[in-house]
Every structure is written in structure tokens, then in C-alpha cells.
């Protein structure tokens, strides 16, 4: 103990750490009926950390070319000690991270935490969710299996619907006219370099905003008692993380992530191509739209509607002024429920095969 105290004193002398310690001791977290929702942001962060750790391990063996990608993942799954575990955890953790981020977003929306003065926290959070979806989309292709190949072909094809620059964007994204080894290489670059860099930066910002402003307390729960951040809240968060870890381990052990068949660009698309679950509501909606609506291509109209809808959701802090004043806003709640029910019902119905 003396050694630790000596070390602390030496560091404190050089870096003046006492104020930081005092801040940590004083920092507290509100305590109320709905404080369970505070754990989901942290849980999402935990899954992100798992992604970084397992992603780095996967990089040791993964080879990002059309010729070798599938075989390298197959090698990892069959030959590398615990390779199956690392890959399965990476895949499951990706899904749980997005699920946890969705829960976090809806709890923030329903509790009205996005309004002034926390607009930037909401916007960085929304950007982080989009980045997570980008991670999912780019990572899905990397094993270069049949389903991923054709799902990516369909997914990237959406970009071509963008007016004027669609075709150019498609070529940039795919690295050519079709999904090829060039697409795989750039998706790999995006997945392991571009997205992690931007995400890390935004996470730091997101956390800094929360740190600076403190955690939001929903109207109707004030005034509240608090509990110390350290150690009480940290230990509770650690418990949630451990449960998340247990869930990951169980999923990886009982449901190792499938690899499927190697992609064959010349083979016909297999039946039942679906994107990952978090894109299903958009995918099924676009499929339901008629080919032409008032002379405009149905898919373009659908994508435009998603863009406008997404933007409306993103700009919630600007149109919801009533909650910023501390008043109730039933309209905002209604919007939240409609969006939640729409996404949840379309996802579930898609899995039930209703849209076939």
C-alpha cells in the first residue's frame, strides 16, 4: 500500500491530480424510478469496446481479398484456437451493440433528454447510431459469403437511386460497376480505419457533453436523490456489463455465427436474401412500395421518405420546444411510439415471414 501511496503522491505532485479525484468523489448520478435507462449508453460502450478488442484479434488472420477473405475466416473458425469464439463474439456483440444503441436512443427520446441544452449530445448520439449501422453494413460483406455478397449488391444498389449523383456514388462505394474484390477492400478500409476513427472521436465528444452537463432527469421525477458515481454507479454498471458479457458468451457458445457458402459472383442470387435485422424495416417497406407512385419510382420515393423521416427524427431538439420548457409534449411522444411500433412491427413481421 505504501508503494501505491508513494506512486500516487509522485503523480499528484507532477500532474496535480487532486482536483480530478475530488471531482470523481463529488460526481453523482440521479436515482429514480426510470434510472435503469442510464445503463444502456454504458452497455453500448461496453459492446463497442468488445468490438474493438475482438476486431483487432480478427485482424491478425483476416485477409481482405475476394480470393482469400472467405478462406481466412474459415481458417479462423476451424484452425485458430478460440478463433470461432472471437469471430462469434464479434458478430454477436455487433448486433447487441446496435440493439442496445436503439434502446438507448428510444429511452432518451421518451424521457425528453434530447431537448435544449442537450441538442449536441442527441446529434452526436444519432451520428454514432448511423456509424454503428455503417459498421454493420461494411462488416457484413467481409467474410465474402453468398448471403453477404448478394445483400451488399442489393444494399449498395439503393445508392444509385440518389438523384443526379447516384451512379457516381454507386461506383465510388463499390469500386466499380459491380460488387467485386475492390468493394471488399474498400469496405474493409472503411470498417477498420475510417469508421473507428470517426466513432472514437464522436464517443469522446458524446461523453464529454454528458460529463459537462450531467445526466438528464425526466420531468416528473424531480427533485431526485442521487447516488455517488464512484463507486456505487460504476459497480452497478459493471454488473450490467458482466451480464452483457455472459449473454455474449452464451450466444457465441450455443449459436456460433454461421459462415455459409463462399460468394460466387456468377451464381444466381439465392432465395431469401435479407439484410441484417436492423435494416429489415426499411428493406420490407421498400419491397411493399409499388413500382411507380405518381410517375416516380417507388423505391426512390421510399428512400426519400426515409431520408426526410430520419432528418425529422434527427432534428427533434429543434421542433420540440415544449419539452425544452419543461412542459409535456404528447405529439413528440406520439411520434416516438409510431416510430418504435413501426420499426419493431416490421422487423418482427419480417422474421415471421408475413412479407413473403
Amino acid at each position: 500500500m505504501k508503494l501505491l501511496e508513494k506512486l500516487w503522491r509522485a503523480l499528484d505532485e507532477r500532474y496535480d491530480l487532486q482536483p480530478l479525484l475530488a471531482f470523481a468523489k463529488e460526481k453523482s448520478v440521479p436515482c429514480h424510478r426510470h434510472d435503469w435507462m442510464y445503463y444502456f449508453g454504458g452497455l453500448t460502450l461496453f459492446f463497442f469496446a468488445v468490438q474493438v478488442a475482438t476486431g483487432i484479434l480478427l485482424l491478425l488472420y483476416y485477409r481482405p481479398t475476394a480470393e482469400a477473405a472467405f478462406e481466412s475466416v474459415q481458417f479462423m473458425m476451424t484452425r485458430v484456437p478460440f478463433g470461432w469464439l472471437i469471430r462469434s463474439i464479434h458478430s454477436w456483440s455487433a448486433n447487441l451493440m446496435i440493439a442496445s444503441a436503439f434502446v438507448h436512443m428510444f429511452t432518451v427520446f421518451f424521457s425528453g433528454a434530447y431537448v435544449k441544452p442537450r441538442e449536441l449530445t442527441w446529434w452526436t448520439g444519432a451520428a454514432l447510431l448511423l456509424l454503428a449501422l455503417g459498421f454493420g453494413f461494411s462488416g457484413y460483406l467481409l467474410p465474402w459469403n453468398e448471403l453477404a455478397f448478394f445483400a451488399t449488391r442489393v444494399g449498395t444498389d439503393m445508392v444509385s437511386k440518389v438523384p443526379f449523383v447516384g451512379h457516381w456514388l454507386l461506383k465510388v462505394l463499390r469500386g466499380g460497376e459491380d460488387v467485386t474484390g475492390a468493394t471488399l477492400t474498400r469496405f474493409f478500409g472503411i470498417h477498420v480505419a475510417v469508421l473507428p476513427m470517426i466513432t472514437t472521436f464522436l464517443i469522446v465528444l458524446h461523453l464529454a457533453f454528458i460529463q459537462r452537463q450531467g445526466i438528464h432527469v425526466p420531468e416528473g421525477e424531480k427533485p431526485v436523490r442521487t447516488r455517488p458515481f464512484f463507486p456505487n454507479f460504476v459497480l452497478r454498471e459493471a454488473m450490467v456489463w458482466l451480464v452483457g458479457l455472459a449473454l455474449l458468451a452464451a450466444l457465441a457458445a450455443f449459436f456460433p455465427w454461421e459462415l455459409g457458402k463462399k460468394a460466387d459472383p456468377f451464381a444466381p442470387a439465392p432465395a431469401g436474401i435479407k439484410p441484417e435485422w436492423y435494416f429489415l424495416f426499411m428493406f420490407e417497406t421498400l419491397k411493399l412500395l409499388p413500382a411507380k407512385v405518381a410517375g416516380i419510382e417507388g423505391e426512390i420515393l421510399g428512400l426519400a421518405a426515409f431520408t426526410v423521416g430520419g432528418l425529422f427524427w434527427f432534428l427533434a431538439p429543434l421542433w420540440d420546444k415544449r419539452r425544452a420548457r419543461g412542459a409535456r409534449n404528447p405529439w413528440a411522444l406520439a411520434v416516438g411510439w409510431v416510430v418504435l411500433l413501426y420499426i419493431a412491427s416490421f422487423t418482427v413481421l419480417s422474421y415471421l415471414g408475413v412479407f413473403k
Binding site: P231, L235, M239, L242, V243, F254
Partner: protein, 424 residues
């Protein structure tokens, strides 16, 4: 109209048909122009109108051959009396006896047929004359099939056209029109059951369900124009055209000479002729419903060999099925079993070869293949065992991890309780 005696008609028409003069035959590749189709299309009597409506699709008409090419007459004359003037060779409806000669007048003429295709066969008439149909016709039996019975009289399509009655997938129905008529077939001491039997065969299934046009239909074994049943000596040659390896194996077997001595048709003795069902390993033996019992008795050496062959195949099949189920189950549990699948496929291939060797009736040759299959199966089973152990290891590892996590969660909960009770 009055019919002229057949012989005189034939003599009238033949010179015109053997070297068809213009305008009965136009330049190849250019559809025929004649007044026959124009007038007949406008007639009310369907019997007379129908042939003309079929002309547009008819291969002859499309190649510039007018109605007069077969019926004689003047295809350029506007006046029906002149167009159908018997003096100009007009013959009206061609009697059945004459049809092969009429068709053969062009189709047997190599120099004439060369105008349409350089590799077209010209021996159909010669073959037909050797066929059961041709022999019957020569004896004056007009119920037998002639060219028009199978190819149609008007609207004749090339055999390669899927609508043609002689296209591979349609031949069965074409032959069935007569050969499915039991009353008609009784006249020839044919049961009339042949086509119905064939429709239950692996060959018909391959042809119609798998759409495999190389699968044999009636004419592949009986011949097209020289249609006749293959004799006892030639059955193995007929089947061996496609089943080459089976035929080679059979040639090595003691059955080859024995069957020849007994005048037994080789393949047919075990597999049947028209109703060729998917072969089963269970056919091998001398018991009831087993094929070896037709010649062998339970006490002879053949029965012992049959039992050994069946044992070798059956043991391999059962082991293969068990290994397959085991590997599938592991795949369903998320294990990658690609290498085991390769071994299973190798075992399956060896089993296919072993089944082929059954035709040699040579125990050593069959067992050489089944032992290859067993070796591949042993490898697959080894891989399955390793995968099962790996799964057990994973699940045990999970249990230990979950226990550790649970202990940590409980410890944290206790610690939190202690901290919070202290601070209150």
C-alpha cells in the same frame, strides 16, 4: 373425287416427286407460294381447311416445297380443276401404303436433301422397310405406323422442335397412341402395357421431371425408323450405349456367358425392360423379390456371393447414413464440417463404384470399393468426434465462464449493498 388404283397413282406421282419440277419445289429457305393454301384456307369444310392452316409452320412449306410436292397437281393454277387435275399428277389424299414411298422420294435422295442440310440422313426409308411397321405395311397391314403417324401429315415440324410429336419428351405419347391401345396391340401379340410400364421407369422420370433430354425414350432402344425390339443378344449393347461402365463390369462377370447360353437378355433379366425402376441394394439375393433367385438357389455359391455383395453394400450404406446424420447434426449446432462433408462425398463416390462393381458379381472387386468408402467414413467419423469434443469443451467452458461471471455479479451486488447501507 374418284380414287385411282394405288399402283397407277404411284406411277403417276413418282416421276414428279423423284425430281420435283418447278413450281412444286421452290428455292430452299424461301416459304412456298401456291394457290393451294390460299384457296383451302378460305374453305368452310374444316377437313379441307385445316391442312392449309398448318402450312405456315410446316418445315416443307417453309423450305419452299408446295402442297404439290406431295399431292401433285399445279400449285400455280387459279382454277381448282386445273390445280387438282389428275393429269398433272394430282393424287388427293395419299393412301397409307404409299406414304413411306412419297416421303422417301425426297428423303432418300441424298443429292436432293443436300440442298437443305449437308448432314441430313437419307436412310429412313431403307430403315423403315426393315422395321416391324415397314414389314407389316409391306404385307398390306395399313394399321401400322407410317411416316405421317409419327411426324404428322401437315404442319410437319423438325424433330428438334419441342412441339414436334417426335421431340424426345413427346415421343412416348406419340408411340402410346397405338402402343397404349391394348385392343389394337392384341392383334400383334403385344400387351399394350409397355408405355404405361415405361412411364414408371427412371428413364421417363429423368426425361420428364429432370428434363434430361439424353434419357432414353422409346426410339433410343427400339430405333426410330427401323423400329424393332432389341434381340436377346443386343440388349446389353443397347443399354451399354449409355451405361458403359455397367456394361464393362458385366462383361467381366460369369453371368455374361451363362446368360448367353440360357438365351437370357443381360440387363433386362434383373432390371426389367420398360419398367426400369431405381435399382435397390435389397434386390441382391435369392429371397423373395430378389433378382438373383431367378437363377440361383439358396444353397449354391451364387447365393453366397450375393449375400456377401449385399452385406458389403448394406454395411457401407448404413454407416454412411449414420455418419451423414451425425455431421448434419453438428452443422446444425454451428460447427463447420466442410472436411467431413468432403469425406462423406468420397465415401458416396466409392459406394457408387461399388454398386457398379456388383455387375461383375465379383466379391473382391465390390469389397475393394466398399473398403475405400469405409476408410473415408472412418475419417468423417473422426472429424465428427473431434467436433463433438470441441462442442463439449465449448459448453463446459461456457459453464465455467458463466459461473465466474455469476460469482462476480453476486460479489458486486453484495459490495454495492454494503456501500449503500454504510452511506445511509
Amino acid at each position: 373425287m374418284k380414287w385411282m388404283p394405288a399402283a397407277s397413282l404411284f406411277l403417276l406421282a413418282l416421276p414428279a416427286l423423284a425430281a420435283p419440277p418447278s413450281p412444286a419445289v421452290g428455292p430452299p429457305g424461301k416459304p412456298a407460294q401456291d394457290t393451294c393454301t390460299e384457296c383451302h384456307q378460305a374453305l368452310d369444310d374444316p377437313r379441307l381447311q385445316h391442312p392449309a392452316t398448318l402450312a405456315a409452320d410446316d418445315i416443307h412449306h417453309r423450305q419452299g416445297i408446295t402442297c404439290a410436292g406431295c399431292h401433285g397437281g399445279d400449285p400455280t393454277a387459279e382454277d381448282p380443276q386445273q390445280a387438282m387435275d389428275p393429269k398433272k399428277g394430282f393424287v388427293g389424299k395419299i393412301p397409307a401404303q404409299r406414304i413411306p414411298e412419297v416421303c422417301g422420294s425426297c428423303h432418300s435422295d441424298a443429292s436432293f436433301m443436300l440442298r437443305y442440310a449437308p448432314n441430313i440422313p437419307t436412310d429412313q426409308l431403307a430403315q423403315y422397310r426393315t422395321s416391324k411397321h415397314g414389314l407389316g405395311l409391306a404385307k398390306g397391314d395399313t394399321r401400322v405406323a407410317t411416316c405421317a403417324s409419327c411426324h404428322g401429315a401437315h404442319g410437319v415440324l423438325p424433330a428438334s422442335d419441342a412441339r414436334s410429336p417426335v421431340y424426345p419428351t413427346r415421343i412416348v405419347e406419340t408411340c402410346e397412341r397405338c402402343h397404349g391401345n391394348k385392343a389394337l396391340m392384341a392383334n400383334y401379340r403385344i400387351s399394350g402395357q409397355e408405355v404405361a410400364d415405361y412411364k414408371q421407369s427412371v428413364h421417363y422420370n429423368a426425361l420428364t421431371v429432370k428434363n434430361d433430354l439424353s434419357a432414353p425414350t422409346c426410339n433410343d432402344c427400339h430405333g426410330s425408323h427401323g423400329a424393332t425390339p432389341p434381340g436377346v443378344a443386343s440388349v446389353s449393347n443397347v443399354c451399354g450405349n449409355c451405361h458403359l461402365t455397367q456394361r464393362e463390369a458385366f462383361d467381366l462377370s460369369p453371368h455374361k456367358d451363362a446368360f448367353a447360353a440360357l438365351e437370357q437378355p443381360a440387363c433386362e433379366a434383373c432390371h426389367g425392360n420398360h419398367k426400369v425402376l431405381p435399382p435397390q441394394d435389397s434386390w441382391i439375393g435369392v429371397g423373395e423379390g430378389q433378382v438373383c433367385g431367378s437363377c440361383h438357389s439358396a444353397s449354391d455359391q451364387g447365393a453366397q456371393v450375393a449375400a456377401a455383395l449385399f452385406g458389403a453394400l448394406d454395411g457401407t450404406v448404413k454407416r454412411l447414413e449414420a455418419a451423414h446424420a451425425r455431421v448434419e447434426q453438428l452443422e446444425a449446432r454451428g460447427m463447420l464440417m466442410d472436411e467431413a462433408a468432403v469425406q462423406l462425398e468420397e465415401a458416396h463416390q466409392a459406394l457408387v463404384l461399388a454398386r457398379n462393381e456388383v455387375h461383375t458379381a465379383n466379391r473382391a472387386r465390390v469389397e475393394a470399393q466398399t473398403s475405400q468408402a469405409q476408410q473415408a467414413l472412418a475419417k468423417a467419423e473422426g472429424l465428427a468426434k473431434a467436433a463433438e469434443e470441441e462442442l463439449r469443451f465449448r459448453h463446459n467452458g461456457l459453464k465455467i465462464s458463466l459461473a465466474v461471471i455469476l460469482v462476480a455479479v453476486v460479489a458486486l451486488a453484495l459490495k454495492i449493498r454494503e456501500i449503500e447501507s454504510r452511506s445511509q
